[in-house]
């Protein structure tokens, strides 16, 4: 199943104001892998994720999703495959009610009504949010918002899931259920986060980004127990490893 492969080759990206956010990123993620992306604030994690579905296009280098190289032409196609969950659920939930929001993606895929309702039902069920369906997003708590944001992306049934700081602002219980959910998603996923315990828990592989390039890439257990590496990148050992 080659369509779950993500490959970044020498990816550079410069913002219009001249900031060089990515300076030669290289990695390859194969089907079913779950990869954590960690790094200091401003190291380029969010910029990297925005390349996953063509919100940003590389200044040079290539991003390949499945069999398709990411270009202006292919990005509509790629957006069907990659679901991105952004950092702030308020930006992700832009429709007036939860139902409308979760249905937005499937409707854009051109599905008929019954199919859309079925998808919405299933996606909300997966995040235990069925009773929220008629509420407007501004009546939801932070945890509920992030669940619905996830549902709105899962409803499109993406092959690849990319999450940007999914556990920020979640209370411990919501964070737990998020982790439980992420473990059930068996396709490829990439998670950018400062929550190293979450990464350790969910991802078997971890990529450390520093200053726009890959600093380290390897098994999470190994990387996340390397104190010097982490501290060089403004990070620290996951709490669960600190006691040892």
């Amino acid at each position: 199943m080659s369509h779950h492969i993500i490959e970044f080759k020498d990816v550079f990206f410069r913002y219009p104001d001249g900031t060089e956010a990515l300076r030669g990123i290289n990695f390859r993620i194969t089907h079913g892998e779950s990869v954590g992306i960690v790094g200091a604030n401003g190291s380029g994690k969010s910029t990297l994720l925005q390349h996953m579905n063509g919100c940003l296009l590389p200044t040079s280098g290539t991003v390949t999703i499945g069999d398709l190289p990411l270009t202006r032409k292919t990005r509509q196609e790629i957006r069907r495959k990659v679901g991105i969950i952004f950092q702030n659920p308020d930006d992700q939930l832009f429709m007036p009610t939860v139902f409308d929001d979760v249905a937005f993606g499937p409707l854009n895929l051109g599905m008929d009504e019954a199919c859309v309702r079925e998808r919405v039902h299933r996606a909300l069920g997966m995040v235990h949010g069925l009773d929220l369906r008629d509420k407007p997003p501004h009546h939801l708590s932070g945890g509920q918002k992030s669940s619905v944001a996830i549902a709105s992306v899962i409803a499109m049934e993406p092959d690849i899931l990319a999450l940007d700081e999914p556990a920020a602002n979640l209370d411990p219980k919501s964070r737990r259920s998020l982790i439980a959910f992420l473990k059930t998603f068996t396709h490829s996923k990439m998670i950018a986060s400062h929550d190293l315990d979450l990464i350790l828990d969910v991802c078997e592989r971890c990529i450390v980004i520093g200053d726009g390039s890959v600093v380290a890439d390897g098994p999470s257990a190994k990387i996340l127990s390397n104190r010097t590496l982490l501290e060089e990148n403004n990070l620290e050992l996951p709490l669960s490893l600190q006691r040892c």
Binding site: R80, G83, L93, F94, H138, V153
Partner: protein
């Protein structure tokens, strides 16, 4: 009203609109039409009309009771916006001084009648508008407008506006709190600080619009905002509208109030 008061006020009205009552379940289109008809009928009364306006209070009273809307909340909101109408109307008693009736020995001027009429109309129209939103969620009103033929572009951005009012109000509230905490007295509330606050809010807003746009693109947005709402007009909706039209027609064209008064007088004698 302070910022916080306004914020919670609008939030409360918004929450009321998601209640689960008979009135809330009526089709939004029917409610929008009924409200417009009501408003039109009320302001169509001549400027000295007072008595015939009284029966129209039945409409807001019914909506409030059936829709379980707190009376005091609505009354307070009506009072809050009354200054302009009062300011313009309050001169009538002084400018239009001809006596039209003498009640208990006190001469009543035409101007005070028309002022009273303005006040009644004001209370009726404003409470009807508030009750429309209190009994119909804003997305409901928007979809009604869409179905009633307003351009989809307009309705789409109206929905965005509604969605982000609360987000931006919270953001603005955080900014003003930060200002007030550090401005000890009035110095920080001046226009220079205000402009910088607003400027910051503006920049953040535009950045947010960009992020929203990305989120939309990520979910296959191609220029059209799709919707599944296909509410059908039910029998109860039609019944409601018919009752409304009959109510309005009867009390607009027949002087029922005075009829009742005469009847009562006859019985007393």
């Amino acid at each position: 009203m302070t910022f916080d008061a306004q914020y919670f006020d609008i939030g409360r009205l918004d929450r009321l609109s998601y209640r689960d009552t008979f009135v809330h379940h009526l089709d939004p289109r029917v409610k929008v039409i009924a409200t417009m008809l009501f408003l039109f009928t009320v302001i169509s009364f001549p400027k000295y009309e007072v008595v015939a306006l009284v029966p129209f209070f039945l409409f807001p009273v019914l909506l409030m009771t059936l829709g379980e809307i707190p009376v005091r909340f609505i009354l307070r909101k009506v009072l809050l916006v009354s200054p302009f109408a009062i300011l313009i109307g309050v001169f009538n008693p002084f400018l239009d001084t001809g006596t039209v009736a003498i009640i208990a020995g006190i001469p009543i001027s035409a101007g005070s009648l028309s002022f009273l009429s303005i006040l009644l109309k004001f209370t009726l129209t404003i409470s009807a508008a508030l009750l429309l939103i209190a009994t119909t969620s804003f997305p409901g009103v928007c979809h009604a407008l869409r179905r009633l033929g307003l351009p989809s572009l307009f309705v789409s951005q109206l929905l965005f506006l509604y969605r982000y009012i609360f987000v931006l109000m919270e953001e603005a509230m955080r900014i003003t709190r930060a200002r007030d905490m550090r401005s000890f007295g009035t110095r920080g509330a001046g226009i220079k600080v205000f402009v910088r606050l607003i400027g910051t809010l503006f920049v953040r807003t535009v950045d947010r619009a960009e992020r929203i746009y990305y989120a939309m693109l990520s979910r296959g947005f191609q220029g059209d905002i799709p919707s599944l709402r296909r509410a059908r007009i039910a029998v109860t909706d039609l019944a409601y509208l018919t009752a409304m039209v009959m109510f309005l027609a009867v009390f607009r064209f027949y002087r029922v109030t005075e009829g009742i008064g005469c009847l009562a007088q006859g019985l007393l004698r």
